[in-house]
Symmetry: C2
Subunit: 314 residues, 2 copies
């Protein structure tokens, strides 16, 4: 209850509801909302996370995909739906693979125009964005535009668990009907207390957010200087592009075995073929020495597997 | 990895795979196995837990219900299925609402006869049954008869998380294909270490199991002496029957507000109408004084809401 109050306050909502993970919160909340509103249509961003996709699939509600981060396409799709049907627009703020950020205001404008509810996944943003760590919607002053804000305690907050923040009525509704909420065990008290302490700290301390931004900028500058290609984006996620699934796995293996650096290879089907990558997310605790070591490792491995030549040739 | 090795050893299996909860382990493992084996039919006990039901539903595989704890009905159902199709029999050892225990050996015999795989949920049994806490299948020497044993770290082991124990190949298969495993965050290290310590302890210490059995027997005897009706069963679950949803909720509220005793009311749809109940599970740490206080509270509340007369009249 204390933790749910912290979370409701964080997102400027009446209430919050805790789940065992961010995955379960998306699956259970979307699965319940879309299933229980008769005739509901879910408008789902084409790059939504697996947990949202599974939740929508589980609801058996009609799903309409809209082009990634494209409010105009969303507008066209919504215009084709019977105005009398309940509609729910489900999207994310920071997308974890490309690190791009949704045009939240424009999407909310389009949703409002068509009387649609909005469901925003801020899993990769809570703690990291906004003056109190409320996410991108807080940073942009848009929290009141969202019907539901979903987040996790397992990333920036450093513990475990997921949640939704919304109206009392909506949280009570999900609490009463979501199988994935009712028939499972709650978070252990120590985890809940740790999460509450972490949220409270990040509501008043900006030092970690500023330091992370500095670390991200520095990593990007070092990658540029070394000629290692990475996706440009406005977030803290730095996707280093390899473009080959076998090489991607090999680079990851060498980094772990020879350098003790763990970076997951991200291959198809998580990302499209040809865009295989390593995903870096510098933390406030990464030192200059850590970055030096990473760059030495990366440039060595890049040369070793022949990626340097590729980059140069492109 | 260390924790997964403890779990594989606990159940006499080659491998184990961790999930964020018991619910997720059932949902993800059954959802993946049943979906990915072409033509698979799942034979599901009629009283299986919500997490198994949702997992089977999620797989979109054909589901055939068999009568609760009825190997003969299972035999008939299996006989009607094309022998060439993969078949998976999903059931529990201890059923949480009635506290009854499955005829595991007979169900495995029937499954073997028809070449079906077996999936046993030991969530309410791990830690509590078997010389090393491996569950009812361990207590009965049947662990090798099960294709998959599923359990939780959130009940007897006192932490959080769920798992399956099975062959290397099966665990790798689920690891590679289960969305609910891949796209979520792992258990925090402190939780995993706590669970491993708990499992290790209960592998060698029988004191807690013996003490719990004593507490359960004592509670049953006290309820009998007080004329408070409860379901007889061979497990540690003591369902105290109220038989009325409004009274059931009222008794639970009074116990919490006036006595500081928290017992959840269990009403329809979790149990059939007319069998509304309070579910007691005495722990090894409940003292004689705790039992005295509980019985004083129960007999007082029972008289207060008029349940004593009902019981006497029946």
């Amino acid at each position: 209850m204390l933790l749910e109050r912290e979370l409701a306050d964080l997102h400027g909502k009446e209430a919050a509801l805790l789940f065992t993970s961010g995955y379960v919160s998306n699956w259970a909340a979307l699965g319940t909302l879309a299933a229980k509103m008769p005739g509901c249509v879910v408008l789902s961003d084409a790059l939504n996370h697996a947990s949202m996709i599974e939740g929508i699939r589980h609801s058996r509600a009609e799903k309409v995909l809209f082009k990634h981060n494209d409010p105009e396409d969303l507008d066209r799709r919504l215009a084709e739906i019977d105005p009398g049907r309940p509609k729910l627009v489900a999207f994310e703020s920071v997308y974890s693979m490309d690190g791009d950020i949704a045009p939240i205001e424009e999407i909310c404008d389009v949703a409002d125009k068509h009387g649609a509810m909005t469901y925003l996944d801020e899993v990769h943003a809570v703690g990291l964005y906004g003056p109190r760590g409320g996410g991108v919607a807080e940073a942009r002053g848009l929290m009141d535009r969202l019907t539901v804000i979903e987040g996790t305690l397992g990333k920036a907050f450093g513990v475990m668990g997921g949640y939704i923040a919304a109206s009392h009525a909506l949280c009570d509704f999900v609490r009463s009907f979501a199988s994935g909420f009712i028939f499972t065990t709650a978070l252990p008290p120590a985890i809940a207390a740790g999460a509450a302490a972490s949220i409270r700290h990040l509501k008043v301390s900006d030092a970690e957010r500023l330091r992370q931004r500095d670390r991200v900028a520095r990593l990007r500058a070092r990658l540029d200087a070394a000629g290692i290609p990475h996706l440009d984006n406005p977030s803290h996620i730095v996707p280093v592009m390899v473009g080959d699934p076998v090489l991607c796995k090999r680079v990851s293996d060498i980094l772990l075995d020879a350098w003790g650096i763990y970076v997951q290879p991200i291959n198809y089907p998580t990302v499209p073929r040809g865009t295989e990558r390593l995903r870096f997310t510098p933390s406030p605790l990464h030192s200059d020495a850590d970055l030096d070591r990473l760059m030495t490792a990366l440039t060595t491995v890049w040369a070793e597997v022949g990626l340097m030549k590729r980059s140069a040739a492109e």
